[in-house]
Amino acid sequence: MRFDWLYRESGRIAELFLWHLGLSVIPVVIGLLLALPLGWLAQRAGFFRSTLLGAAGLLYTIPSLALFVLLPLVLGTRILDPMNVVVALTVYALALLVRTVSDGLESVPPDVIQAANAMGYRRLPRLFVVELPLAVPVIAAGLRVAVVSNVSIVSVAALIGTPQLGLLFTQGLQLRFLTPIIAGIVLCVLLAALLDGLVLFAAKRMTPWQPGGAER
């Protein structure tokens, strides 16, 4: 471990960390925003359910490196454009979260839906006021998986040169120098734990009604 190297490079490492943070979070946020309507469609059974969930499952099986390389051809972007990584990771987050949102809405007790209908809720108010709040615990659990897995997939993008902590791994390998690799691993784990905790915290705040979740 060469701390003097870490000290000298700290500015660049911090910059890579922020890139890594952005590349991990932004795709999950976009993915969630897209997954909400799609998951809602999927949950409403029938044709949409099998098609959407099937397609989502397939997307997730495409190797990330292949996607990073293929996307410029599809999007017309330059190969080193970070946008490729954002789009690819959004696809992964979306693939995971469509199922999560659909499962979350599915987890709302039928009694509650029936009561809401019988009281005269219309469909959209019911979705926003009743179903989504009750789906938060399940959606948050899926969100945690998506965020943490994104933190690790982002580092693969080092192979196409996008700035983020993965560059520390490639650099360490090329120089046969362990310090940047260890620093990269520690920071990745730290980032994953931080984001995971953040989602957990937000979910707890949004569900004071859960047994054990409230401090009443």
Binding site: D111, N117, A118, M119
Partner: protein, 371 residues
Amino acid sequence: MITFDAVSKHYRGQTVAVDKLSLTAPSGKLTIFVGPSGCGKTTSLRMVNRLIAPSSGRILLDGEPTDTMDVAVLRRKIGYVIQNAGLFPHRTVAQNIATTARLNGTPKDQALRIAHELLERVGLSSAFANRYPWQLSGGQQQRVGVARALASDPKFMLMDEPFSAVDPVVRGQLQDEFLRLQRDIGKTIIMVTHDIDEALKLGDQVVVLRTGGTLAQVATPQELLARPADDFVADFIGRDRGYRVLGFAEFAKGGVPLGAEPTATLGATPETLRQIATDRWVLVADSMNRPLGWADVDSVKGPLRDGDLNLSGTLAVEGSSLRHVLDAALSSPSGRGVIVGQSGELMGTVTLSHVAEAIEAARTGRMGTQP
């Protein structure tokens, strides 16, 4: 008034759930739909607020057809109570109750004020207002469910097996309280139950449906017991029809003479018990003179303990129906039924023969006044 006009429900053109049902649930009265499973009682109920769409026929609220109303507007007019309450888990008790008022456009603080008033109305303290549903027992949740249905002050209410998911003791309490509440508020209610006892106890009018969704009989509970329309109805009401008739008000007034009953307290020695006893059994009461049970003089060896008491006898509260009085006499090991006052204090005991005389007298009176 809720009117069913030749209402039918078919599923996929073959199974008939409800078959040309025509009836009226009168204003301010509690109408009960009862019948075996598959008789279409719940389907019929849900067609009123169009949770299920009728295949043919019409349902009218105070003469206004429901099929042309906006469905959300229709549902907001009708209070709805279901078996497991169906409370919103993410909302506090007060917020849950306020929901229906909010849906009908009541401002938030006024809706919450209504919620707090209703909480007391249904027998829950205001300490419950800020709790979440999971912190409540089944019976408490059901009370909140009733309060929620009432918060918009609807003219009509639909209740789908509202008391069947709680234990028998709580069910009895909820039923009694609901009867008292209904006497005050006089809503036009349709309730569904599979429990004939509940139907006879609560209903102003009982609608008996048979499998296949056809109407078997519409009658008051008394009429139903006295003159069941056919074998199906007679069979459904059950074998102990004669006994059930005793539960109605007309029998309640027949006074049964009360005998004085000497009592012992816990800790009494076998000698004391023998001095008090008029026969083998001595009634044991606590310091407030509330009956605890019967002690068998012959089998008590030492000072009287809790474990020595025979608890098989039921207590009849003064002024309750002859059904309860008779049950108290029948279930008592001494053959003397224990009658208590409103706060549980001993009033005296009745003998089986006195109860039988009272039944006889009430029966003659009833037969005499019949047209």
